[in-house]
Symmetry: D2
């Protein structure tokens, strides 16, 4: 049986990305994936922002191979290990301390949803109240707690049980620019008759990646933080997809001077695609009983090896952040030019840093572009409740030439899509 047949026959029908990108990948390096035919695919998805430093980064790989070759301990639950201590020290010294953060680090299990589940438990334990405020089009994970703060109805329905103890509130600009959604939240919280009660916490993404690359302004986030303080609720930021430099700083919230009580981090933290997840929690809320939350894989040392090395390489000074910010401006400018050049596509550019996107009025366009890009050996995904948003998530280390190459392919694909759809007088391209 060939490999694609094996997958179709033996794997559950729940598989999804393989349906959009039907080729068998074998190798990966930097911003490229390679299939078994040796064809190179430009990667503008980066494993859902897990590969911010590119695939198989040589320095990270070196550290990993050194570690693994020498019989260092791989799996140590939450016992002490050299690597755990080294990672904690590096994370403290180079990430937390310079940013004035005194948060403690919890290892809640190796995935983002473990971190979100822990954050929810922390808020509920710290306040003794069950409710949590989440936002329209939020995405926080697939386990029952995380799903309860996720907006997507298709995913929610998958639970098979009602999802409770959460309030879904309108995100920034959800109902137009004239409607201040924090004022609305505040009124609901202050009004003893609103039915909302007194939640324990707010959990928020600074940019809603899965939800459609919806960007919250710094002002809105600050107002939200103030609202939390005023109403005695924990302010919790889910930085799983937006953290690790994706928006141009290590944390997505630091440029706004925010001071979240709890932060969840995962995806690119290992820098090498190894499962790792942490929860940052202020000491005053770090009131767990020992073992009150646990999990088997919360001591996966190899992931800490690359995580520590990635911090040393990229976050010892500002140079990498500056570089990401420069690239971000370039991508943003090119996308702005693109939507201006093709007004018939009715696209709007959104995003922060290296998470840029184009939302299309016609909900079929983004998916069609993604398919056309794939034909041109490029991986790019869609987002939003109706997949109406084309989302650019290249590795942060992508060279300028490759960024331009990707943007060219997007334009070429857009043109092809417009032609396919007969929009704006475009003709089918010869090479379709």
């Amino acid at each position: 049986m060939d490999m694609m047949d094996i997958i179709e026959n033996y794997e559950s029908v729940v598989r999804s990305y393989v349906r959009s990108f039907p080729t068998v990948f074998e190798k990966a390096r930097g911003s490229y994936l390679y299939n078994t035919e040796g064809e190179a695919f430009l990667d503008f998805f980066a494993g859902a922002s897990v590969m911010n430093y590119g695939h198989n980064h040589p320095e990270l790989k070196k550290a990993l191979l050194d570690y693994l070759s020498n019989d260092n301990v791989v799996h140590s639950l939450d016992m002490a290990s050299v690597m755990r201590a080294r990672f904690l020290e590096t994370f403290h010294d180079r990430i937390l301390k310079p940013r004035g953060m005194n948060h403690r680090v919890q290892f809640p299990g190796p995935t983002g949803t473990n971190a979100v589940e822990s954050a929810l438990k922390i808020a509920r334990k710290a306040t003794g109240r069950p409710g949590v405020v989440a936002f329209t089009n939020a995405f926080h994970g697939m386990t029952l707690g995380s799903l309860s703060v996720t907006g997507n109805q298709f995913k929610r329905d998958g639970a098979g049980v009602p999802l409770s103890y959460t309030e879904s509130m309108p995100y920034d600009s959800y109902f137009g620019d004239d409607f201040d959604t924090i004022d609305y939240l505040e009124k609901m919280l202050q009004d003893g008759g609103s039915g909302v009660g007194h939640p324990s916490a707010v959990i928020v993404e600074t940019v809603q990646a899965e939800g459609g690359v919806n960007v919250a302004s710094g002002e809105w986030l600050r107002k939200l933080q103030d609202c939390c303080r005023r109403n005695d609720m924990l302010f919790m930021i889910d930085d799983i997809q937006t953290g690790n430099g994706r928006t141009g700083h290590y944390f997505s919230f630091e440029e706004f001077g925010l001071d979240p009580d709890v932060v969840t981090v995962s995806k690119s933290i290992s820098g090498f695609g190894f499962p790792l997840s942490i929860v940052l929690v202020k000491p005053e809320y770090d009131i767990w009983e020992p073992g009150e939350h646990n999990g088997t894989f919360r001591g996966f040392n190899p992931a800490m090896v690359t995580a520590k090395r990635a911090i040393e390489l990229f976050w010892s000074d500002d140079s990498f952040a500056n570089e990401v910010q420069e690239k971000s401006k370039h991508v943003r400018a090119r996308l702005a030019a693109l939507v201006e050049k093709y007004p018939e596509a009715q696209g709007t550019v959104r995003g922060r840093g290296m998470m840029q996107a184009v939302a299309f009025e016609n909900e079929d366009i983004a998916g069609a572009i993604s398919q056309h890009c794939f034909k041109r050996n490029m991986i790019i995904e869609t987002a939003g409740p109706n997949d109406e948003v084309l989302k650019l998530l290249p590795p942060l280390t992508t060279e300028m030439d490759d960024l331009d190459r990707g943007l060219d392919l997007i334009e070429e694909s857009l043109r092809a899509v417009l032609a396919d759809m007969g929009i704006g007088g475009h003709q089918p391209a010869a090479n379709q």
Copy 2:
């Protein structure tokens, strides 16, 4: 700051095992862990049964290093990869097919709790009913869905919200040998006035490891399966800790001729301590919509490398299983002799295969033995609602000499504990 100080200062207070085994581990090989002083610790815990094939098994390590050295793709979400196909093929050919199982393989995320959350969703979707039957002293995980089928109240309270849609039913022999708990379950299911309703599924561990090494008999499990069939409920086995050879066969249920609809597998499946988890689901229940359950780290290829290699090494024929069964008999016999020799300890031997345990009437004894063993450079854990059970989980590959060494240390520790506690006229040993 020394490494233990770093951990105490920077890591969350939720950490637990490090409190029982306060040393910093650096290396690991086979059945031994080594701390930074170079001291060897005999490992009778195996990372909570994650290291069934021992630490840093050379053949697995070789396959892993080969894979990682050659820029093979590490992280591929649920896109097709060479390694995904190869793992699926091997798992199908060497595990499922020889056992007459036609289950599909789902990658639900890399940890056990991801698998359990998926299993619960499957049962609810397949039946359209929310309820799930779980058992007293069950342990299925820490995310909200898995926690709802977990018995431990301390863990449940950590949720901070009521845990719903589950029925806790008495496990095998829960209420003594004369009370048939399946008859009780059946009556509750058949009686339209019982308040239990019509659950979607039963989820069960064949041995409750965390719950105190409570062993279900084959007869009880078969009766439970029949009960599920009769009552149109899915029969789901959580083989996360009991699978991968721990009980003497690949699956813990195969010797009883059971035919579960859904099986969760994790922990030792990668064989190397790498996070990996799968759900096995019969095709008739594999009715997911694409992407209805997802998760970032469900395409962690390096874990599939060692998982495939482990199957090839250990499960290509019966020799390894036979060896484990032999060792199990030896351990069991020595424990039986031990409790007979020290009747004043009021111990009872329990377990299956290489998951053997001694339950003590006096709830302080097991923990005290564990501490004494640690002083003697051995890692062994307790289990049960009051930590009253000493649980032996050595790697399955542990040499007979090391097994005996561990059993000697347990006896020595028991004697020391009895002396400390002034039980049965034992005198404090000179070397305490």
Copy 3:
């Protein structure tokens, strides 16, 4: 349109008793109902034990007409009224005080389910814990809280939402006489791994009327009360159907020397069929904020008029109780003789006081007897999860002759049913 047509056309299809007893009632007096044709029906149902003192008792009617004729206040919410004070005084002086009870009286709204909802709130507020233990085949009402402690699945399914925060435990003798269900409950409560947690209260009926006239022994109830005390849970008795003399004493629990923390009373308390309901709560648990539970009809004075008068008439000394106990013995003896005479009917007698019943192995018999009785102008209902129990609930004031007449009709009907079904060689009666 004739009256039955009006009902069939204009009333919701949810109506039920009218389907079993399809005639239009007009008058009622003592133990008889009369339809529009003037036919008298012997009433062995008493409006589900609402008419314990018979229909239109002349003394109660007199007090009521006096009250209503003189423009006394009918509806006063929970403002003070003469009648409210007079009822409270009488209830205190003649019911509570002689029984050594210092409970406070809450008016939770005029129906039993209002009382149960209040009781649940009291337990949860007093303990800060949400869980409540209820029993298999319990019936406590149809609103969402009461339904959550009701066993009947058909009724529960009507909720349309999962019913949570309750644990359904086996009632007395639920699993045979050898299985002590309180020991089971105790073990589940003591075991930190049982999944049951720490409920706030137990709510129990001393006889489960709707559930099939299942009788709890005094020993079992005392053990249950002890279990509550030991486990810091409120002991709550739902005496809605069993109270007001039905079992031979004012409260069903007094002969066992029980001391419940909360008691719900309704149905026959007004004695005249007027909606009234009270919750008795020990002062230490009467910790409501003013208005924390309210309801429009909690000051329905006419119901208090007859309630007060009924207490004066029937509960000023022991004579009525003694009389009920005498009648009960007679009914019980005749039923015992009946099942002995017709062993082929495989009936078992159950009950306490004037709530006696026959449970039949063949689940169709009880309903068929009820139908045959109706043909013979007698009203008698069935109970139990499968309507397999024939339930005798005549007014407590029913004359001995009428009791015998009813029992004769039951025997006649049983014989007819056995004949219809071809059981035991009975021949269809000529008058069928």
Copy 4:
């Protein structure tokens, strides 16, 4: 013990109105209550709109006494009775039919909360979906289902369990006049990522009486009905307090041409303060199984006697409605003049029909007026989340002179309150 002492000693501390109006009432006639001293109190509360036709209306009393004097059946569960048929016929012929409504009538139990619980069950059964949309500051009752659609947090907290399966949405003008709350609801419903999902129904009061006499416009209600139709949700109106003529028509919604799928009616339906409640449900949603919802007191015939007679007396033609509308205009005009005359009171007039109110900026004023009115022998209540609204609910039959007398007392009390509070230069009145 005097009567007030009896109440204080024997009744639960949950009592509330008696604290605001501490006198013992004995008689009642028309718009007046009389205490044991024979003092008359002008009633601007009408038992929370239960006594729309005044206390002890002679015609209703006559019908009731006739019925009760002649041994007509009082309590008949849901068996057929003459009175049940007569009430259904009258309700159909004089209320439903002239308004083009073909709803079936369900008797869900005798109180408003029974009706709301039934309505919720109907919506959930008809759609198979658990969610229900309710509004900020809604009040629907105190049992667990009704409480879950009630906004008031103090009442909700009384539940002691999380209240689930409902979405609290902003009522008309909740967030100012520029923010269209139906557009907001519509967006939340249409957006697959909003987290709101697909509710089964909307339940709404046309005027939120308890919530502060918040008035929904006809346009808003029509838009809400359209939204329900478009989104396949039942449109359910709770007319318990607003129905029976309170707003100037029999139903509060008829003047807007609305066509609700389900309507709950209670409070004044019996017209005499007797507990009665009905649910009106369109035939297509009347899909109950027999007995799926039940309750003891759903056949309380005396309440049907007065209910039938009240319809005959007041709703056989338009004259009563017209009269109520005239009085309403008068009350409204006088309140408007009042707030204009005392701008320092910062009052705003709200209401529809004979449910008029003044909301005060200073949250203490309304309560203080109520207390001053009581000193002047008048009963009037407050409403709103902070009791900041003075609510006028006189019987609809109140004579114009008495209305004016009440309005004079309100003005006098307002003046006294302003003086007490030192607002706007008012001097304490001599007679305070």
